[in-house]
């Protein structure tokens, strides 16, 4: 038998499609495109009428207008996206995060068109997409979850009955939810009754599914997640953790790795658990297992699994030197990853700051035209940006305009570099939360590393 012939043509290499349609926008569309281009893959962008001038559209090899600004008419419009794929001859679809990334039906349609879906199987997406089902599945394989409801909570009275069993405070969540939307904490029956109705209407509106679950709320906790990678040969590996405790409105503002609150023993247990969670659904590709770590007891519980590339994936890339998007491409086509899974040695410390177009005090949205945009640069500094000078930040999408990622030999150096980089980042036009990040980096609690999910609310009461 002759040896396989390798040519330099991307489409001829195992694991590398000839072209990819990126079904997303902004910074993540640009970030995925960067790796695709490096791998010799033709990049096809899709955009709404509101995004025609953004850098990711101009930089793509081909760009297709898929509809008006509202997401349901464009980035959530599966028909328009699949039509764009067919018209441009795309061989693969990368969904980024958000929008259709965790939509099992969309993933299946991509596969049915004969295209490569750069993500986990529709089955894995479906199993993990419903938080109640995911909780129950994790319990079945011996993974700890917070005390909570194992089936959808029917009404406010049912919620109160659950809470009396679980104990207050409790967290109300949309079973199909994400991004912190619809999550409310209740300290007693009255708050729960009121919060339940709000959560239900938001769940219906944002996720098209009113199912609600209730979980015991851990008052002082760190939000720590594990990056996993399901390899083409069926193995699942863990690539370290990320601490995402700095949040406002249950949405992440800053992430770092390693977590200053996770010791070697806890890390080992969390990584092993995350691998088991991935194995339970035969996971392939990049995924994230989110956990809460109780600050008092250092015990952790499973929160949810995100079956896609995570916003904060760059911090893992900075300490491991692994391009996670490249691995997604390789795994999706059944190829081996580009590194030795047995000898990953994270090095140093990385921190990501999410730059949002919102005022730095009340965190209210601040869309507008960008008149000046100057990114920081230097040793250990990476900026994943979705915008540039002359672009308009519109109210149609989330407020993330860029991610500032820094790497240092240790946490102290990473924080120093972050402080300097934040100071050099200039965005004029919309208000941004850069001034908040300066405050966060300088506050004693965050700087000490000994912080929890309430650090931002203490900084901005």
């Amino acid at each position: 038998m002759s040896a396989p012939v390798r040519t330099v043509l991307a489409g001829m290499l195992p694991g590398v499609p000839d072209s990819v349609l990126i079904a997303n926008r902004g910074e993540i569309a640009r970030r995925v495109a960067r790796t695709a281009r490096r791998m010799g893959v033709r990049v096809i962008a899709v955009y709404s009428e509101a995004d025609a001038d953004l850098p990711y559209v101009a930089e793509a090899d081909e760009a297709v207008l898929i509809g008006p600004a509202p997401p349901r008419l464009s980035y959530l419009n599966a028909d328009a996206i699949l039509a764009a794929a067919a018209r441009t001859g795309a061989q693969a679809v990368h969904p980024g995060y958000g929008f259709l990334a965790e939509n099992a039906e969309f993933a299946q349609r991509v596969l049915d068109e004969g295209l490569t879906w750069i993500g986990p199987s529709p089955y894995a997406i479906e199993q993990m997409g419903d938080k109640i089902r995911a909780r129950n599945l994790m319990t079945d394989v011996g993974i700890p979850v917070a005390h909570g409801s194992s089936e959808p909570v029917r009404d406010a009275a049912d919620a109160v009955a659950h809470a009396s069993r679980i104990g207050y405070p409790v967290m109300i969540k949309a079973a199909a939810g994400g991004g912190g939307i619809g999550m409310t904490i209740s300290a007693d029956d009255d708050q729960l009754r009121a919060g339940f109705e709000t959560a239900r209407s938001r769940a219906e509106r944002f996720f098209g599914d009113p199912a609600i679950l209730i979980e015991r709320y851990i008052t002082s906790a760190r939000h720590v997640e594990v990056q996993i990678l399901g390899l083409a040969d069926g193995r699942v590996i863990a690539l370290g953790e990320r601490d995402c405790s700095a949040q406002r409105r249950h949405q992440k503002l800053a992430e770092e790795t390693p977590s200053p609150g996770v010791g070697a023993d806890l890390r080992e247990r969390m990584l092993a658990t995350a691998v088991r969670a991935g194995e339970a659904v035969g996971y392939r590709g990049a995924g994230t297992v989110e956990c809460l770590v109780d600050s008092q007891t250092s015990e952790f519980v499973f929160l949810e699994m995100n079956t896609r590339l995570q916003v904060e994936h760059p911090v893992t890339e900075m300490v491991t030197g692994i391009d996670l998007v490249e691995q997604q491409f390789l795994i999706a086509d059944g190829a081996e990853v580009s590194f030795d899974p047995g000898s990953v040695q994270p090095s140093g410390h990385a921190l990501e700051l999410r730059v949002y177009a919102e005022d730095p005090v009340r965190f209210l949205p601040s869309p507008g035209a960008i008149t000046e945009w100057k990114e920081p640069a230097g040793a250990g500094v990476r900026v994943d940006a979705g915008y540039a000078a002359g672009n308009v930040v519109t109210p149609h999408y989330d407020p993330l305009v860029a991610k500032l990622v820094v790497h240092g030999a240790d946490r102290a150096q990473a924080l120093d570099r972050a402080r300097q980089a934040v100071g050099e980042f200039v965005v004029t036009g919309p208000k941004t939360n850069l001034a908040f990040h300066t405050d966060l980096l300088n506050c004693r609690e965050f700087a000490s590393g000994d912080y929890d999910t309430s650090v931002v609310s203490r900084l901005r009461p």
């Binding site: 409105r249 999408y397 407020p399």
Partner: protein, 70 residues
Amino acid sequence: MTEIRAEMVANVWKVVAAEGDTVADGDTLVILESMKMEIPVLAEGAGSISRMAVSEGDVIQEGDLIAIIE
């Protein structure tokens, strides 16, 4: 008379109060949506709504009139 104006570009998601309604200080008049966030617009002072200048689905700009309370 109090003019309630928009603080940012936003979509009008829900109009909660109507012309002629009597409102108290802090009552929700409309709920805006911008960047995947709901932003309630509240009455600044008690009175009756003499004008509701927006409808659900409108896109409003910073400084646009939302309602007048007298």
